[in-house]
């Protein structure tokens, strides 16, 4: 398949992920939407790497996957910590740093 088809798919996937981040109030779903956004970026990296046959895009995707793993670990740990102290995973109620 030509590169542009993958790119269009990547744009739509990123849009879905961002909508999830903005619209949802469950912190867990927001973290999952961030994973969707990162995967949309991976798809664009790989489709651009494929046409010229350059391996660097694959290496970058590897780094993004490692980064996503670190982000998920820390994000979920923060979520568990917040849930322990405040008994909620609702982002509208976690407003301590607003005041």
């Amino acid at each position: 398949m030509p590169v542009y088809a993958y790119l269009l798919l990547s744009f739509v996937l990123f849009l879905i992920g961002t909508s999830g981040v903005i619209l949802r109030r469950n912190a867990l779903i927001v973290l999952m939407s961030i994973e969707l956004q990162l995967n949309a970026g991976n798809l664009a990296f790989l489709s651009f790497a494929r046409a010229p046959g350059d391996q660097k895009g694959n290496v970058f995707t590897f780094f993004v996957i490692a980064l996503a793993a670190a982000e998920a670990a820390v994000g979920l740990a923060i979520l568990v910590g917040i849930f322990r102290t405040r008994q909620t995973a609702n982002l509208d109620e976690i407003t301590l740093m607003k005041r």
Partner: protein, 232 residues
């Protein structure tokens, strides 16, 4: 139609596979962000990641496709499932209506940016003869030998990207330590502080030579040393 989409040299099965995988990816993603039950959302996200891994495989990125299944569908999603089990709350109102106008504006802005990006790709693709168009329309030619395999990617990673690779290992270490510290409960912190205070007390009583077991108790024979230090 195939001519305008520059699909003339793409075989019909390939198109069919791409369409199925793309629909699976988008459907899974939409299902993920609309579910009320977090377990359903996680499961559909796993399905999305499997479809994405297959898409990566159609892009000849075999190594990354395997990584996607192992790391994303395996490790990260198991982590998510664990946290879902800890939290285990049904949402009353999954969509947040607090500040809905701002949120809707944000979604519209992102939709507009995505539309612009897609429009740029689509219009550049149609420009006959330009370098960008030939890049965007390419994809059917076979990649160089070793492209996307473990050895090919490994060669690139350990020749050109050794420093970022080591930096990533440091990042993962920081993430492990940070995750442990952040998710620690207040009770555990209290216990650890108490243990540390106990160790300090024993050390202060016994002088600097005493050997301590990990729990903070003096090691065997240390009682004599303690007594000697006391009489001294």
């Amino acid at each position: 139609v195939l001519e305008t989409l520059s699909l003339t040299d793409v075989s019909p099965p390939e198109i069919a596979v791409f369409v199925i995988l793309a629909l699976g990816t988008l459907g899974g993603a939409l299902y993920t962000i609309t579910r009320r039950n977090p377990v359903t959302a996680v499961m559909s996200l796993v399905a999305t990641f499997f479809a994405l891994a297959a898409l990566y495989a159609t892009l000849d990125a075999h190594f990354v496709a395997v990584l996607q299944v192992l790391v994303y569908a395996g490790a990260i999603m198991v982590l998510f499932i664990f946290v879902v089990m800890i939290l285990n709350r049904e949402e009353v109102q999954p969509i947040s209506f607090k500040g809905i106008v701002t949120r809707a504006l944000g979604v519209m802005a992102v939709a507009y940016i995505s539309y612009l990006g897609a429009w740029v790709v689509w219009s550049q693709r149609a420009q006959k003869g330009s370098a960008i168009a030939s890049l965007l329309n390419s994809g059917s030619a076979a990649p160089p030998v070793g492209y996307g395999t473990v050895s090919g990617v490994g060669m690139s990673m350990f020749r050109e990207f050794v420093f970022p690779f080591e930096a990533i290992s440091l990042l993962l270490l920081v993430a492990i330590v940070g995750g442990l510290i952040v998710s620690r409960s207040a009770h555990q912190t209290e216990l650890a502080e108490e243990r540390a205070r106990h160790i300090e007390e024993v050390r202060a009583k016994a002088g600097p030579e005493i050997k301590l077991l990990p729990g903070g108790e003096p090691a065997e024979g240390a009682d004599d040393a303690h007594a000697a230090a006391g009489h001294h």
